[in-house]
Amino acid sequence: MDILKFITAGSVDDGKSTLIGRLLYDSGVILADQLEALHRSNRKNDDGTIDLAILTDGLKAEREQGITIDVAYKYFQTDKRKFIIADAPGHIQYTRNMVTGASNAHLAIIMIDARKGVIEQTIRHSFLVSLLGITQVVVCVNKMDMVGYDETAFNQIVSHYQQLATKVNLQNITYIPVSALKGDNIVNTSANMPWHTGKCLLDYLETVEITIDKSVAHARLPVQWVVRPQTDELHDYRGYAGRVISGSFKVNDSITVLPSGFHSTITKIELLDQDFEEATAGMSVIVHLKDHIDISRGDTLVNSTTQPELSRLIETDLCWMDTRALDTSHTYFIQHNSKLTRCRIQEVLYKVNINTLEKVYDEDFKLNDIGRIIIKTAEPLAFDTYQDNKTNGGAILIDSRTNVTVGALMFRANVE
């Protein structure tokens, strides 16, 4: 069995939390005591039925205001697949939380209110989904019950969204007309919309193919920790512990260590009592090398045939996540996999106006602004572009004054 991680994106009141609540409720995964708590709570819909949104709004302030503030992670499982849902807030104020949820998702559900159609927030969310490299998108046109389950209304929204998708470069889109409130086309196929011949949402989620890393050729293992027991019987033991982020490594493969550029050969791959012939993407292992080389946390093992970029000057997309604006005179920390070094903003290329998708020149990056910059790092980074390899193409900026994560970086090019 595999795991599908997905995010829900939509504006406040589009019904994201209700959709997830409905998904959980109708699949029968809500347990008796949780149901009882649900019935006990004061929040009810106008017709007296339970407000399913409270299944995900876990914070007091969220229940008070009836909105989602932070990402809630929900877990459920059917016979076919396990699911991790990142229920992200739609409010513009919490864009950074949506980026947080999207960074680990295989798939995005974009919610559109059937009465409102494609709005500013839809553009923003779709742009973010595209920027974060999510390739599978399902558009749920919600509240179909409020437009009389009208096929024309649905088709109009599909055609509007299709134009937007082209603009933000999203392919692979599936459209489903739903009512989260009434349960149409979520887990059960709706009798109210016989004109919809496609799948209902759960069926789609259970069967959609999960595309993970495209870059099979890029074998990358950032070293997190050097295992050196230094006991009498394991005097010479020296293992490099880390997680293969893409591609795979086999015993006898020749590898290069970056940034030093030293070459060696893998002699052993292990984990506790297990030995492996091959470590594939996603596996956490310990690797042994033939030669004694100076390797420490922050170094990256790569296969010798497809080398990443090695550079101190990188063009990158930036999503700014802090209330304090970007300061081009300040030195930030940059964390890229296990590597932590310092960096400065060499140049601000442009910001993107999220409403029009136009590029504007403005150095003033404020909370939730997105654009493109060039950074200069204190030490060279061994990276791939985000397009080629998400894990090795993403990094975060940390403000050295507050220690807060202030920016998400998606590397575009080596400009050294």
Binding site: L31, A241, F333, S338, G394
Partner: protein, 300 residues
């Protein structure tokens, strides 16, 4: 296109990755060990992350003094097998020093007092990171928590000021006095933990399996009969076949009647159960936001 790992392999690899990030990023981390199945799973994951080396952190047990004796026995045997360091923080010491005050009344519990002892222990050993076995599926406030969860100098969690957590990059930078609570099995469900324990053949304290025990009924829940429970003549002691789904201390952990003597039985039982794991925790039922409020106050 590379193939996705099986879900248990994927969850395991992620947790090992997180533990190694703790080792790489912090000066003085600790692994909080309660003797429950989740922290026992963490210990196995730490073995996978660091063996044949030593753990780069001690295990820390916050002992309420109201433990199930089986848990303490398990803990001590495990530490002997691992050869790792154990630090115990005693709630009784906090009470003796006047820092914590014993609750009164029939439902008195030391559960809330643990926070005092935990924060004192963190301050005393200057821990900058505390690894815990919490899972997001346990409770709705937990579902909101990051894997690296920064706490201020008072141990407080502020849900509105959480750091964005992107990809698999965890920002562990903090100021002196702050610490980070780290949850490597955030993405596991109760059933995942059980399936992993079965797959890895991990031994557990015997109270997880069905056994005969003297119990009393309190507020509709079956509690193990123990002197800490402030029992009186109204409490009728009945011998029942029970097991425990979670292991807290004896004053706040309810038993379930069960015939699950083997791990396969437990997995069947949980798969069929209509009651969530936390449904058997008295401490979560105090109010709608009981867990959130405790976490804001520094609870683990």
């Amino acid at each position: 296109m590379s193939k996705q790992l099986d879900y248990l392999d994927e969850l395991e690899a992620e947790a090992i990755y997180i533990l190694r990030e703790v080792a790489g990023q912090f000066e003085r981390p600790a692994l909080l060990f309660s003797g429950g199945k989740d922290s026992i799973t963490l210990v196995r994951l730490a073995e996978k992350a660091f063996r044949p080396g030593r753990f780069p952190f001690p295990l820390v047990h916050i002992d309420t003094g109201h433990n199930f004796p089986e848990t303490i026995q398990y803990r001590d045997e495990m530490i002997a097998r691992l050869g790792e360091k154990l630090i115990v923080g005693y709630v009784q010491n906090s009470i003796n020093e006047g820092k914590a005050v014993e609750q009164k009344g029939k439902n008195a519990s030391r559960n809330a007092l643990q926070t005092v002892t935990l924060l004192d222990t963190i301050a005393h050993y200057e821990f900058d990171a505390c690894i815990g076995g919490a899972r997001r599926d346990e409770e709705k406030a937990r579902a909101k928590e990051r894997i690296f969860s920064v706490r201020d100098e008072f141990g407080q969690w502020d849900p509105k000021r959480q750091r964005p957590e992107l990809w698999n990059i965890y920002n562990g930078k903090i100021h002196k006095g702050e610490n980070v609570r780290i949850f490597p099995i955030s993405n596991w469900t109760e059933l995942d933990v059980w399936n992993y324990i079965r797959r890895e053949n991990i031994a557990l304290p015997s109270i997880y399996f069905a056994h005969q025990r003297d119990c009393i009924t309190r507020n509709g829940q079956l509690m193990a009969a123990a002197e800490f429970l402030n029992m009186d003549e109204q409490d009728v002691v009945q011998n029942k076949t029970v097991r425990f789904r979670t292991v807290g201390d004896m004053t706040c952990t309810a038993a379930v009647e069960s015939e699950a003597f083997l791990i396969d039985d437990i997995i069947d039982e949980i798969s069929a159960s209509r009651i969530s794991e936390r449904g058997a925790r008295m401490d979560d039922k105090v109010s709608e936001a009981a867990m959130e409020d405790r976490k804001k106050g520094g609870y683990f």
